[in-house]
């Protein structure tokens, strides 16, 4: 009997944490109970990207997009949609406008997106190799093994113009070619799945949603460069991704797509997983290799580059997860096709993790050259809670901020660097007027200082000094000369640090000093935090004309700093107040304000 419906349940980490597994199980049992189990296939997929609205359930062929589904909704979804063929309007996205936004292609969040990397996320069951194969999975590997020479592969990547998605944007074909050209009987292929940028989860979702694409791509690189062994270095914090990779590797071996004599071609390749252990610097390629070797993850001076002298001194191709995910598609559709997407400087698409004060946070994949405005306002739906956009941070602890004036810049590697930020791995963190720029910058510096491996002094000492200066400024002790000091130290770190961590750690400061100098000055000169975030520089007060004396705030105050009789104006004792903000959250009359 032909299947009538496919039910896709998002199994990304976000939706899983919100009950996706119970929804999945309930749907199965409801289909059985209601006698339609034979007509429906229920699939748990990778991340749909629209995490804000999770858990998400999509039903095909109608393409109905159900959001914020609860386990108890399973019964109705089956009885109405599957059995009676009627959509459950109350669960459809944007139900207010009747069926207008029921279909995926009608949802603004997806309209400007273009999916290459995330092509299978949300479409297939990542734990089933057949579904990957059904969507042209492993077809690129077959084509490469039987129809292409290694030089053909490299040439295709060259025509495609693919640049590394791990941050630096180095042309992938060049790396592969270096490794290919070195004569050595042992070479390695490595996947960088360390994803250290806090606030980014593109790689996690790709691995969870489409693990085979990474295995296929690495095998292709093995064939091209002459390697027979690959390593995936992945954060231990990503248990679901690790599990799915393990399952995928097992299935691929069973199908003869991994291991000896792949598809009877005579070429053999296998992959092993190595776990990271929570050190950001291990995302840097030389530190990562040291970590696979079981050492402390300290970077090594380059050159020699890993492509020539990498893992255990052997030539090693190392690419980022997202870079890998592009490879099979490029080889199937051709470099020519890929090169038509994007800008002159950067080809293809980029996946961003859109988070922070944005209405629709989630994963978005857009062609290079899409503007920030399109991403933040059209796809992301603008700022949450009616606040004003202040800045967007890209490139994580190595990047910088971009302000309103530059929202219409088409983004690619070059344009972001031109604005004093960088592409980075794809974290895109939106800030609104309540976020203090100096405080956020201090947050990033704190991160870099914690993560500095301590090997070279510019990074170890410089980073700490920068952090201390920022700390001083946020506490109201800043002096005018601190600004020049920070610029000086920052410049020295950029020049003299051993690896990218130290070289880029000053970027958040230099970028925010450039765009938000006034805010630094407010902290230093006026001892004021305009966003109301820096505790030492603010005080909580009560507005006389709004306070009705309900005592709600006084009862909640953990230190009894609020004084006032019932129905009388209350007052906050500044000496007792610990600025926890509970009163502000509690007051229903808007009588508490921050100065």
């Amino acid at each position: 009997m032909a299947l009538r419906n496919y039910i896709l349940v998002c199994g990304g980490t976000g939706c899983e944490s919100a009950g996706a597994d119970s929804i999945y199980k309930n749907l199965i049992s409801e289909c059985e109970l209601q006698g339609v189990a034979d007509e429906v296939q229920i699939i748990k997929t990778g991340c749909f990207g629209f995490c804000e609205q999770g858990p998400i359930v999509k039903i095909l062929p109608e393409d109905s997009f159900y959001v914020q589904v609860k386990p108890e909704d399973a019964k109705e979804l089956v009885s109405e949609h599957i059995v009676k063929g009627r959509e459950v309007a109350r669960l459809l996205y944007n139900k207010n406008e009747s069926k207008k936004h029921a279909k995926v292609e009608d949802i603004e969040f997806y309209q400007k997106q273009f999916r290459i990397v995330l092509r299978n996320c949300g479409f297939i069951n990542p734990e089933n190799i057949d579904e990957y194969v059904a969507r042209e999975g492993y077809a690129a590997l077959e084509k490469v093994l039987f129809e292409m020479t290694p030089d053909d592969v490299i040439n295709e990547l060259k025509v495609a113009g693919l640049r590394g998605r791990g941050g630096a944007g180095f042309p992938s074909w060049m790396k592969w070619n270096f490794t290919k050209q070195v004569e050595d009987d042992v070479k390695y292929v490595v996947c960088n799945a360390d994803e250290g940028d806090p606030g980014a989860y593109m790689d996690r979702s790709t691995l969870e949603g489409d693990p085979h694409s990474i295995l296929e791509a690495m095998t292709i690189a093995g064939y091209t460069c002459g390697a027979s062994k690959g390593y995936i270095y992945i954060r231990a914090e990503y248990p679901l991704a690790i599990k799915r990779l393990e399952i995928a590797m097992g299935q691929a071996r069973e199908y003869g797509l991994l291991g000896e004599d792949i598809l009877g071609s005579g070429f053999g390749f296998d992959i092993e997983i190595r776990l990271g252990a929570g050190a950001f610097v291990c995302g840097e390629e030389t530190a990562l290799l040291a970590s696979i070797e079981g050492e402390r993850g300290m970077p090594r001076p380059r050159p020699p580059f890993p492509a020539v002298k990498g893992l255990w001194g052997r030539p090693t191709v190392i690419n980022n997860v997202e870079t890998w995910a592009n490879i099979p598609v490029i080889l199937l559709k051709g470099g020519e096709w890929f090169s038509k997407i994007g800008t002159d400087d950067s080809k293809g698409t980029k996946v961003f993790a859109l988070t922070g004060k944005i209405r629709n946070s989630g994963l978005v994949e857009v062609p290079m050259g899409t503007t920030l405005r399109e991403i933040i306002f059209d796809i992301g739906g603008g700022i949450a809670n009616g606040r004003e956009f202040k800045a967007v941070q890209t490139g994580g602890p190595s990047g910088g901020v971009i302000t309103k004036e530059h929202l219409d810049t088409p983004i690619d590697y070059g344009s972001l660097t031109g604005l004093g930020s960088m592409m980075g791995s794809g974290g895109m963190i939106v800030m609104d007027e309540d976020d203090c720029i100096v405080d956020v910058t201090k947050f990033y510096l704190g991160f870099s200082v914690d993560e500095s491996c301590g090997k070279c002094s510019p990074c170890r000492i410089g980073g700490r000094s920068l952090y201390n200066l920022l700390d001083k400024i946020t506490k109201g002790d800043g002096e005018m000369e601190d600004i020049d000091k920070m610029k000086e130290i920052g410049a020295a770190m950029k020049k003299a640090s051993l690896c990218g961590l130290g070289q880029t750690a000053p970027n958040p400061i230099l970028s925010t000093l450039h765009y938000f100098e006034k805010e630094y000055l407010a902290h230093i000169k006026d001892k004021r935090c305009p966003a109301g975030k820096c505790k030492e520089l603010i005080s909580y007060n009560i507005l006389a004309d709004k306070c009705i004396g309900c005592t709600a705030c006084a009862r909640k105050c953990p230190v009894d700093a609020i004084i006032g009789e019932r129905r009388q104006l209350h007052r906050i004792d500044p000496d007792l107040c610990i600025k926890c903000g509970v009163c502000l959250e509690t007051c229903k009359f808007g009588a508490v304000f921050v100065r």
Binding site: C51, D197, P198, E237, G294, E295, G396
Partner: protein, 158 residues
């Protein structure tokens, strides 16, 4: 050579894992992960025993343990509450959650309650930034957490 290797017992599974990995280059981090999985942290005696089993100096093992944030040298609570302090969660009030949990449990971050039940840890992005602010207890992820929900979440494990 250390003589402490009888003071701690490894499960058969762990011993088997170590034996399997013994000859593999770069095995140390993988083995330490497995040890931590078994004990929740890496006890001194376990490090000693690993040193002996794979013939790697203890100093090197400690060098690695202390370099990587993921490895713990002290025993966490039965329920280790990990509060995400990645950028997205920080902007959405992750620091406020930590303060509130600290006051609810009466301990500071990286401390364990007297009954050994709870501990608090500030962690880097756990990869659910779309749900910020996020906290993780064991395998369970809690998203879009507000301070009001904290007592409920804690009592779930009590």
């Amino acid at each position: 050579m250390s003589v402490k290797n009888d003071t701690i017992k490894f499960s058969d599974e762990l011993t088997k894992f170590i034996m399997e990995w013994k000859e593999k280059p770069g095995n140390l981090i993988m083995i330490l992960h497995k040890v931590q999985e078994e004990f929740g942290y890496i006890p001194r005696d376990a490090a000693d025993k690993v040193s002996e089993m794979i013939k790697v100096p203890l100093a090197k093992i400690y060098g690695v343990i202390t370099f990587y944030h993921f490895f713990k040298l002290t025993k966490p609570g039965d329920f280790n509450i990990q509060v995400c302090m990645g950028t997205a969660c920080y902007l959405k009030g992750g620091d406020g959650l930590i303060e509130e949990i600290e006051s609810l449990l009466g301990i500071k971050t990286n401390e364990v309650t007297k009954d050994g039940k709870f501990s608090i840890e500030a962690v880097r992005c756990v990869g659910c930034c779309g749900l910020a602010p996020v906290l993780v207890v064991g395998e369970e992820v809690f998203g879009k957490v507000t301070k009001d929900q904290l007592p409920g979440i804690i009592s779930k494990f009590n």
